[in-house]
Symmetry: C2
Subunit: 343 residues, 2 copies
């Protein structure tokens, strides 16, 4: 397997990427292709003893940083001869030289670069961003969490198909429970988009369990939750913000009371467990689905360990042929709806 | 002042309501009109020494419970001769016999009853539910949080006007900072609704500060945040769910570690402060705005103390003439947009 790792993604890049590349190559026996400014990467890589494992450097002189956004970023992402590490790395997927691309960089930048350079799978109209939310006793995959603010029912149906395949193939969940995010559990609740998507999901052949609200989502009643990119982004950002606010209050209180008396050791397990909720993707990577290539985005704060986890998650999707399964399922779904129209 | 209190609202009704009525009448010198089944309420009220204060009972033989929903609830709310405590109480506003109505009952039921029986203020197309979110060092009023899942830009403009008046008059916030909930801070970000609402808010004469995401909302950068009822409801329910999930983990961990060693006293301030976040309206009441009458909804878990707080919040709105100010502001806004069209 050949996995491309963006050397210039994480907040403290390229150190975590260099370490992770060597470690992942050693651990999984894959070829790791590290993309970034070769001149500065090469000497650092040598000090890590990379000569014994399969880490290859590919040159990319520019980067998309966390500050890039808007039209300027879109141009960087789209330009034919773009020299950003994301563009060069993703082009390796397009040319068939690699099987998947992993970055801990700018989410919007990775989405735009992948969208413009790989294009969507035939029949797929919108490529969603999927995030893994930690919920009671497990995880829930939510998509779209920001790439497509305005969606149609047909888009949400495709998100459900892609999310379900991802949950099944890459996460080994048998018959993933698929739900749609709504403002009430009962069928019939929802805005126009939700009400019109409901019947499509009901007749999709997926394991559709109906509407869920925040309560059901975070209590773990669904494996995959679909929503438009606007609502999904509000969900992601506001729950992160509330979690952070609670943690801040807690940390402040613990500092003034308990920790000073007891040392941090007793309170630490609580904080660590809760901190994982702040960064849904800290211990893995979020896939971009619906594109002609596998692209995974890890958290900006990723260290080497988190990047190795991200590569591990990515490998699982390559091995399970997530891409091929999505292609087939989308074709089947389109065929089904065409037959329905003819009838 | 004459305030109607629904005797059959809270989860443990009517005890908290009976206590609160007597206490509020004593504390504020108002007439509290308690609406519910008079036969069972009367003897209980007498044991509370209500004879010395101004608490009046009005008979209502039926109730809208927390389980009522859908069409059956709408019919209960709408029926001309409805005998629910909400319908009878709200009819007292309509006939001019009272100044405001407070309930800790079913939010949807209260909204529907008030909407059907009072009607909207002339020119107002949608009546939003407003919730008060606890944020860093203060509060933020968010509307609509569920009454109107599908909204147009003109509706959100009216929500902004009403929310701003409420924040100013009832909460004494000078020039409330008004924002719109979006999936990005920059102007131009958002779904179609947000992008089309933005220019209306910009030229509204309100203190419009632009888009906010969850991060800015919970760090207290806005006093009033407008959104459609679908997104607002997702925001409310999902942040409540995350807060509850964190609290559950915390409580579990504290139980097994710290509390058993230290007694609960040291950890309690953290928990109490955070618990307030779970129930934004526990210490007040959420107004229904845009209707021909002042209606406030307290939390279902309200005890007598919380209900007295809800009555206090309601009094403030009556005293500040929130209703009259909204009527005037809506007329002015409509006149402004008519003039614009003529020009």
């Amino acid at each position: 397997m050949r996995i491309v790792l963006d050397a210039m993604g994480s907040d403290t890049c390229p150190e975590p990427e260099l370490e992770a590349a060597v470690e992942a190559a050693r651990l999984f026996g894959d070829e790791i292709i590290l993309v970034g400014p070769i001149e500065s990467l090469k000497p650092r890589l040598q000090t890590l003893g990379a000569s014994t494992v399969s880490v290859r450097l590919v040159d990319a002189t520019e980067t998309i940083t966390m500050k890039d956004k808007g039209l300027a970023m879109a141009l960087k992402a789209k330009r034919r001869n773009s020299k950003t590490s994301m563009a060069v790395g993703i082009d390796l997927l397009k040319s068939g030289e690699a099987d998947a691309f992993v970055t801990a960089g700018n989410t919007g930048g990775a989405w735009a670069t992948a969208f413009f350079r790989l294009g969507t799978i035939p029949g797929v109209e919108r490529a969603p961003l999927a995030a893994t939310f930690p919920v009671k006793d497990g995880y829930c995959i939510v998509l779209d969490i920001g790439a497509n603010p305005d969606c149609k029912p047909e888009h949400l149906l495709q998100f459900a198909i892609m999310g379900s395949i991802y949950a099944n193939k890459a996460r080994q969940i048998d018959k993933p429970r698929v739900a749609i995010l709504s403002n009430g559990e009962e069928a019939g609740k929802g805005n126009e988009l939700v009400r019109n998507t409901y019947p499509l999901l009901e007749s999709s052949g997926l394991n559709f369990i109906g509407n869920v609200e925040g309560k059901e989502l975070f209590s773990g009643e669904a494996d995959v939750v679909v929503t438009d990119g606007f609502t999904g982004n509000i969900l992601l950002k506001s729950t992160e913000a509330v979690a952070k606010l609670i943690m801040d209050i807690l940390r402040q209180q613990l500092k003034s009371n308990l920790i000073s008396m007891l040392g941090g050791s007793l309170a630490k397990p609580s904080l660590v467990k809760i901190r994982a909720m702040l960064n849904p993707d800290e211990y893995g990577a979020a896939p971009l689905l619906g594109l002609n290539g596998l692209v995974f985005i890890g958290h900006g704060r990723s260290n080497a360990h988190a990047l190795v986890s991200a590569i591990k998650a990515t490998r699982a999707s390559v091995e399970a042929n997530v891409l091929g399964s999505i292609r087939t399922a989308i074709q089947e779904s389109l065929m089904k709806s065409t037959i329905k129209e003819i009838e």
